[in-house]
């Protein structure tokens, strides 16, 4: 009988794994199970072009239907996986169906973190993770309306930027002292705070939201002991990895399904990739990444391991965020204690911050600065040592530093 590979989760990792499995010559049967009623689609545009209306839904899909047909890959959509029986190598689905697998890839992604305050279920309070979320949020983004964004991370700020451009009155509530505190260095936060304020967005930092108020629908956000009138709210306070399937099956989980550098769990028949995983990097750190890059690259390694060609995942992580006309591109993973080097002038809205660790470039955050980003990625991959004064000197083109 033909080998059967089952992929649970129908996101970016799943689409990549199908492509890589077939490119590697896997000739068996592939089944992808997803709880959303959609074939794999791109999530990044959801808080950007899809939200603004610049991109229609059809364009979100990663592959045409013909791709799955050509790959002889069955998509079971709108059905969650319920449990894994590792001994019998079976996955049970919420609709009662049971799939036997020879190899199983968990690409279950994440779900939004819900805010545990009163009124959070009021109509008008939204989250953003999937197509359906945006479809329900967008009609409320009307010029002149008041939008409260809870959480000043990537999602919150991207939505704030779109809404400000649409002419809404936007207030962002951030519990920490600066925006994007988890994702970028302090200087970048300061820069983005200024940009948002310049676009008319109100930022309430160090301000956690205490409740949502309203009779039958949202009317105000309660924060710092005060009611802030709001017609619509978007909560973007992070995501939680979907580890329950793996955990219930006895696989090690630690804020993410733990996998090795080849995307393998301790069960030789089970692999995992994407946002739901925590993996060991080449320098021994255990990290969970939420990114398209990780979804794609880790899925490639998972697929390779599934066909018996395990290879170590060493790609440099990269991320991006679009806010207004600013393109933020980040490569590498910053750590506390890195030496920071500024290149360029934030006032010119074109600059980069390099992070040096033991003299080598470990990460770069680039704003409208593609050369710094691209060369930075290469320097990070090579573990290249560069003198801080060289990086800071804009009279030396990045090409000459590469």
């Amino acid at each position: 009988m033909a080998e059967h590979f089952v992929i649970v989760g129908a996101g970016q990792s799943a689409a990549q794994a199908v492509a890589t499995l077939r490119a590697e010559g896997f000739a068996g049967v592939i089944t992808v199970v997803g709880d959303e009623p959609f074939a794999p689609y791109q999530r990044p545009p959801l808080s950007k072009a899809y939200l603004s209306g610049a991109m229609e839904r059809d364009r979100l899909f990663l592959k045409p239907d013909a791709f799955y047909a050509d790959a002889r890959c069955a998509l079971i959509l709108g059905v969650a996986a319920a449990s894994i029986d590792r001994r019998q190598q079976k996955v049970s689905l919420a609709n009662g169906r049971v799939l036997s697998y020879d190899k199983l890839l968990l690409a279950t992604g994440t779900r939004v973190r819900r805010i545990p305050v009163a009124g959070a279920c009021l109509p008008g309070v939204h989250y953003l993770r999937g197509i359906a979320d945006v479809d329900s949020l967008r009609p409320g983004l009307v010029e002149g309306q008041r939008l409260a964004v809870v959480g000043g991370g990537y999602i919150g700020l991207e939505v704030a930027a779109v809404a400000a451009k649409l002419g809404l009155e936007v207030t962002v509530f951030e519990a920490l002292e600066r925006v994007m505190a988890r994702a970028v260095s302090r200087g970048l936060s300061t820069f983005y705070e200024r940009e948002h304020r310049g676009a008319g967005v109100r930022l309430e930092l160090n301000t956690g939201v205490e409740a949502f108020k309203g009779e039958g629908r949202l009317a105000a956000v309660r924060a710092a002991g005060r009611n802030h009138p709001a017609d619509v709210a978007l909560v973007g306070i992070g995501v939680i990895p979907n580890v329950e399937l793996a955990k219930d099956a006895g696989l090690p989980c630690e804020d993410g399904i733990v996998v090795d550098d080849c995307a393998r769990t301790p069960d030789p028949a089970i692999f995992a990739a994407g946002d739901c995983t925590r993996h060991t990097t080449h320098d021994g750190a255990l990290v969970r990444l939420e990114s398209v890059q990780n979804a794609i690259d880790q899925a490639k390694h998972a697929a390779l391991a599934m066909v018996g060609k395990p290879t170590s995942y060493r790609e440099v992580p990269w991320f991006w965020s679009d806010q207004y006309d600013l393109k933020l591109q980040i490569a590498g993973l910053a750590r506390a204690g890195d030496t920071l080097v500024l290149r360029g002038d934030p006032a010119a809205r074109k600059f980069a911050v390099f992070h040096l660790r033991n003299g080598a470039v470990a990460a770069v955050e680039a704003v409208n600065a593609a050369p710094e980003y691209i060369v930075g990625r290469k320097l990070i991959a090579g573990g290249t040592k560069v003198a801080p004064e060289t990086l800071a000197d804009t009279s030396i083109p990045m090409k000459n530093i590469a």
Binding site: P44, K63, W320, K327, A369, V375
Partner: protein, 106 residues
């Protein structure tokens, strides 16, 4: 719908209809044409959708913005007609456009 000819590095040609408003990158990806990775999905963030525009067409395409120019600067197999296909918007005037893919996007 404008027709675009994509030519793989090995010479294999693909003629496909691409809706107006889409990017040349999307036309390739949605038609399963190999040679364009487009990891970032068209955000001009990854430089994995590099194409060489046929010389007869370079004047008919709006010039590169700064971001594209600099992303391309570091691409492999760069030529004077190199573009990031995610940044070329399909318009009726591009009916018949010919692009060639480099050997590798990485």
């Amino acid at each position: 719908m404008p027709k675009i000819k994509y030519i793989e590095h090995n010479g294999k040609e693909h003629d496909v209809d691409v809706p107006v408003g889409w990017s040349v990158m999307e036309g390739a990806v949605k038609n399963l044409i190999p040679g364009i990775d487009a990891d970032c999905g068209g955000a001009c963030a990854c430089a994995t959708c590099h194409v060489h525009v046929d010389a007869a067409w370079t004047d008919k395409i709006p010039p590169k913005q700064d971001m594209e120019e600099t992303m391309l600067d570091f691409a492999q197999e760069l030529t004077p007609t190199s573009r990031l296909s995610c940044q070329i918007k399909v318009v009726p005037e591009l009916d018949g456009l010919v692009v060639r893919m480099p050997k590798s996007q990485h």
